[in-house]
């Protein structure tokens, strides 16, 4: 257990250093949120009715969750690159705890996701986003989003261990998350979707998490979506972490 913690800390340090030294890191981190917030706000802002909530206030919780989910592709790509360069082989030949390779990856990526979330909020602020329940609600909202994204990082880890070349991952990685992110309350209210879809959409992980973030920031029913979101997050982490660590640790 001490080895696992020590090695996970070492791997987290290694991966955080790598992220921090990515060339052009800041522009890369800022570009995504700026493009998505601007695009959705301009394109959908006038046409989607979101009650008394201004569209930018409705949108930011959605973008926060969407960015956290899409950030999982960073996890997958980083693992695939390490695999391709032979770094994973080196780690596997060391007397370290193998799970630490994966844990160090997703923990460093969670730190990156927190920074991304902060940038989304900052970009939102510049465009008129104001949390109805006060600015301090941003902190629990980001915490929830990062935890939810962490579950997807483990999901992407499973994917990366099955599809280990960066090129094939590039195309495989979007397929599972696109329906989840768009068939949800991310950018538009569920009431306007076809009625046969609604029961599924209402309870799928992205919708309940976006709803919980909205409730945290702007008020409204919090307990229901929050409990469902935490249940999904925990369940996905348990399943995907066990799956990927088992697969990675076998000789």
């Amino acid at each position: 257990m001490t080895t696992l913690i020590h090695d996970s800390a070492t791997m987290t340090r290694r991966n955080t250093l790598r992220i921090a030294r990515t060339p052009q890191l800041l522009p890369l981190l800022i570009a995504g949120p700026v493009v998505f917030v601007l695009l959705f706000n301009v394109v959908f802002g006038g046409s989607i009715a979101t009650g008394e909530l201004a569209y930018i206030n409705y949108l930011i919780p959605g973008i926060l969750v969407q960015m956290a989910v899409f950030d999982g592709t960073n996890t997958a790509m980083a693992l695939a690159e390490d695999h391709q360069r032979g770094t994973i082989g080196r780690f596997k030949s060391l007397p370290m705890h193998r799970a630490a390779v994966l844990i160090g990856r997703v923990v460093a990526d969670a730190a990156r996701a927190a920074v991304t979330a902060g940038i989304v909020v900052a970009v939102g602020f510049a465009l008129g986003f104001r949390p109805g329940d006060g600015i301090e609600t941003v902190i629990p909202a980001i915490a929830l989003v990062v935890a939810f994204g962490h579950a997807f990082a483990w999901g992407y880890t499973v994917l990366a261990l099955h599809v280990p070349t960066p090129e094939s991952l590039q195309s495989a990685s979007w397929i599972p998350v696109f329906p989840l992110v768009f068939a949800a309350s991310t950018f538009a209210p569920v009431e306007n979707m076809p009625s046969w879809m609604q029961p599924v959409v209402e309870h799928q992980p992205v919708t309940v998490t976006v709803d919980a973030v909205r409730a945290l920031l702007h008020g409204g029913d919090l307990a229901g979506p929050l409990v469902q979101s935490l249940a999904w997050t925990t369940g996905l982490i348990v399943v995907f972490a066990t799956w990927s660590i088992r697969r990675f640790s076998r000789v």
Binding site: T3, H6, D7, T10, M11, R13, R14, L17, R18, R21, T22, R85, G86, T87, G89, R90, F91, K92, S93, L94, P95, M96, V251
Partner: protein, 338 residues
């Protein structure tokens, strides 16, 4: 410096006796879906030995290294390193080994020092020891000046040295090097060879895979030749060379125009058919009594008035060895002749 690295090589368990192998590979078979990569490989390596694992691409060298490094479980057979079984006690095997490969698995965004410290930490060293060890390794590899630069600014040779250094961070007893000099220029390759020789003087055991026959010849105490997943020969470079048959007398006339005259002179003086290679402008003939043949040929060439650029008796190259065992060449490009 050297003594500092050496002095920590004090395992608490009794040191293996000189004759007890530190690596024992026993009947290892590795089968993938429809390919047999290793087909019953057995070998033992004595402590302090440099063993060359020689074979063409696809002969199973890397697979064997992966099995010894606990990266791949054999379909059957067993491997023990320093007395520990790779299947039942992989952690102790990993403590005993260091792996470096043809890919130079170092982080280009981190500095050389950071790379070594991280690998040291993963060998279980505390932060201070990892830092001190990194300094030692950097100095040995003449990388101290570049220690705090990101690896992406390193030359190919420096990266390879750092990769080798990373495999030394845990002071392994057995160093596994998978084609360590592939793609390096001759000067850098020679530096790496010198460094490896120093290491072995200190008692580290090295298993080195290569498809360069010259490299195995230059470095290894003993050579194991692999072909299609089987061991087809094993011995010292000299053993293998003498098994390949006779030495050759090779003559290079200074002027190409003398080639025919020289060939006739050599042929009559040695009394055997010569092979003339017009491309390289050389004449070769198998010889048994090497000194007599050399003197006789030199005398005949003098009488014929041939100016000689080079005349020598050459023992068979390892390429000839491979040819004589398998009936074909290795198919690998030769390293440039010195």
């Amino acid at each position: 410096m050297t003594t500092a690295l050496r002095s920590a090589h004090q395992p608490s368990e009794p040191a293996p006796t000189p004759h007890e192998p530190i690596v024992r590979v026993d009947g290892v078979v590795v089968r993938f879906a429809d390919v047999t990569a290793l087909d019953g490989v057995s070998l033992t390596i004595a402590p302090g030995e440099i063993r060359g694992l020689l074979g063409p691409n696809g002969s199973g060298k890397t697979t064997l290294v992966s099995v010894i490094a606990t990266l791949l479980a054999p379909t059957s057979g067993s491997v023990r390193v320093d007395g520990h079984d790779v299947g039942t006690d992989p952690t102790n095997v990993r403590r005993a080994i260091g792996l470096a490969g043809q890919y130079a698995a170092v982080d280009d965004l981190l500095t050389g020092r950071e790379n070594l410290e991280i690998v040291g930490a993963l060998y279980g060293l505390d932060r201070r020891t990892a830092r001190r060890r990194a300094d030692e390794v950097l100095e040995r590899l003449s990388l101290t000046a570049a220690a705090d630069r990101p690896v992406r600014t390193y030359s190919g040779g420096m990266r390879r040295r750092l990769d080798l250094g990373a495999s030394l961070a845990g002071r392994p007893q057995v160093l596994l090097l998978d084609e360590p000099t592939t793609g390096l220029d001759p000067r850098t390759r020679n530096e790496l060879w010198d460094f490896l020789r120093d290491l072995v003087e200190e008692g580290t055991t090295v298993l080195l895979t290569t498809q360069y026959l010259e490299e195995a010849d230059a470095l290894a105490d003993r050579i194991t030749v692999l072909d299609s997943g089987r061991v087809i020969a094993e011995g010292t470079a000299d053993d293998l060379k003498s098994s390949a048959g006779a030495s050759r007398l090779v003559v290079t006339p200074h002027f190409d125009i003398d080639l025919e005259v020289a060939a006739a002179a050599v042929e009559s003086s040695v009394g055997r058919l010569v092979v003339v290679d017009r491309q390289s402008g050389t004449i070769a003939v198998p010889v048994v009594e090497r000194t007599i043949a050399l003197v006789a040929a030199a005398d005949a060439l003098r009488l014929a008035g041939v100016e000689v650029a080079d005349i020598a008796v050459r023992r068979p190259s390892l390429d000839d060895v491979f040819l004589s065992i398998t009936g074909r060449t290795t198919g690998s490009q030769r390293m440039e002749e010195s």
